[in-house]
Symmetry: C4
Subunit: 232 residues, 4 copies
């Protein structure tokens, strides 16, 4: 895949954010990575989706040096870069302030695994990070937000838990490419909405048992998966 093709993918993935109703104004950003070249393509900061053109996208190396583009990259760029450096399996990263996922982040609560909808994508509760300390914020806010995500995932393979809530901020999600990362952002917002309603109907609603979680997660992602057309 050429860098131009990746830029086209990242552009389309960014335009999907308003299409799926995940953003107000410019409150979201998608990036993608070309692993061979070690280059990351990301949305410019504060540019509205309806005015964004392919050449407005910013190309950076993994250390954040600008390689292409005249605009300033998203202020969340250091968070994306930490994720790409830490997890070689990631091809796309997304940050939004989607309504329901952000509300869970503000409530500082993990989204509990209560149904098969979540189990089809997330291998358990969607975690909520701790809050960065004052010294962390002043030292390197956006970079340490990335490390906070890594700390919270601990030893979870990131593609089995393709999203997280950053406390008092909002959701990040990721995937094998920019399109897949946005797909997971849509799912995260929808399960956040379902779990909010579930919580109101029954604050003591039980968790999905492990055997149901495994059944749904594996029938879609396991080695004997039988959901969809491209399974093994």
């Amino acid at each position: 895949m050429s860098l131009q093709q990746l830029k086209q993918q990242v552009l389309e993935a960014n335009l999907d954010l308003p299409r799926y109703d995940l953003v107000t104004f410019t409150w979201g950003n998608v990036s993608g990575i070309d692993r061979d070249r070690g280059l990351v393509v990301i949305k410019p900061s504060g540019v509205s989706y309806d005015k964004m053109r392919i050449n407005d996208l910013v190309v950076l190396d993994l250390n954040g040096n600008r390689v292409e583009g005249d605009l300033r990259p998203s202020s969340d760029t250091p968070t994306h870069l930490v994720m790409y450096r830490r997890y070689p399996e990631l091809g796309g990263v997304v940050h939004t302030h989607s309504t329901h996922a952000t509300a869970w982040a503000q409530a500082r609560r993990a989204i509990p695994i209560q149904g098969t909808t979540q189990a089809d994508y997330f291998h358990g509760n969607v975690p909520c990070t701790r809050l960065l300390s004052e010294s962390e914020v002043s030292e390197d806010y956006e970079g340490l937000t990335g490390h906070l995500i890594v700390e919270t995932l601990h030893d979870t393979p990131p593609l089995t838990m393709p999203g997280i809530l950053v406390a008092n901020h909002g959701p990040f999600s990721w995937g094998k490419d920019p399109h897949d990362a946005v797909h997971n952002a849509v799912v995260l917002e929808e399960v956040a909405r379902m779990s909010w309603i579930t919580h109101q109907l029954n604050p003591q609603a039980p968790a999905l048992p492990d055997y149901m979680l495994e059944k749904h997660y594996q029938r879609k992602h396991g080695k004997n998966a039988y959901y969809g057309q491209n399974t093994k």
Copy 2:
């Protein structure tokens, strides 16, 4: 009706799922049956609605043997087949993860009969199943989900209760044909939404008395029905 006409009906009924805002991505499926030929037409697994063509639909006999179509049928196919085999009056079956109905399923609560909106379609509370056991899930998850629905309906005629909540999963609905089954899926989602709001306004809201339930159900479905233009 020719098989081709049924396929057209099933295609349109599937496309109605996103039109009525019942699905995210591919999270839903509709089937229909040709009782004379004993053939079921169903959505292929994991194919998005905007790319689905009539020849992508899969035709199966009632034992699940593929008769037409190159794609893999919906992973929920065994559930549909159990319903068709058990209830000869069914002409269409739908499964979705519609937001509010799924939330009730996650809360493991029946939708109580609290208003005439529900009484116009559902002859009482919309039940929520028990959870399948670990051995049931490993034995035949999708087939036993169908038997679970049958077990929960017990001796209720299915067209008088044209929908159900499968615990921690989501709603199934059905009807005399695929279009009718989708119609009932829309109603189920709307009564799930209304009952959620009702529950928040008054957790002790009383049930609709039986005489009101009967009045509304019978004026629409009884032998002296006087709602609509095609009544007796």
Copy 3:
């Protein structure tokens, strides 16, 4: 105004119900009255809005005798007729199952007057009726629903309280003409939604004081009204 013009008004007012998102399928109806001729125009029963043509509308006298139209009128027609006979100032009547207003009706709670939005249209709490008894339902369900509304309004001039919740059923609204009645149905749904959210944020939220209610109601409807362009 000719009867044809009234039919056109009633058609447009019915088509406004889906436009303002007040109805699912055919769950609503609007009527209008020609006071000079003593004729009421109303939606036919169970006909979908996108297929309804002007000649599908049914014309009745105030006793319910059909004067024009081949279709069966809305099953709620007797309720509309009671309202027109009792209140000569009414020119249009609407019934819907709009989501939030219906939820309040199912909760059997009046919508409390908590803000100027409601005070601009409704001179106080929007009342919720009692439930009809079993003998009332079997005697004349739809007609006695009209009398129930009249009983609940008691001595309130209906144009100062242009809507009500029928317990466990849904909202009725009215106005000086069909368009105005739909306008009030939209307002009723929106104040029902606002009051639901208010209730969740503060179950003890105080009522709007009388002097604020009077100020807002009178600046729009009083003899010295100064809201809008057509005031005295």
Copy 4:
């Protein structure tokens, strides 16, 4: 900028209210000011957005004398004028009855600062005013509503808190021009919605710590801001 250009801006800003789903019918108004000429342009009272033309806008001096336009200005005009006279930095003012912000106003609760979404625009909790007294309402309701906002802001620079909830009424917002004021009205409605959901998920959700509030507010508005493309 010519007066005609300001009128065009005010027209577009008013039309943005329905576009961003902030208003039902005519329940909102935007004004803008030409500081050099001392002239305010504002929406006419009770005129629907789809029929409003540029020459329907009303031009007033800062004392409320009509300079241009045949229509009566918005009934909330005196509130706007107080804001412009008191705060020379304001270029636009907006009033709406947007659903969630109005619900907080009806609950008589400030919107707590619980996330970075709010911190990006509002330097702390969005305050809710006290209720005007009966004598204040009868003396000069709309003018004293403006003074009530000023009283509530106290010594807060208004562009650091570009919105407020007027108790039992609804939100007002403002900005450096009419477009910016509407932008802030959209943000206010969205943070009101997020905070409502947060409150339901965790009524004891903690406030955003000051150092996070400062970080987000300053990275966007401070002298070393690095969000967006036009920062210093």
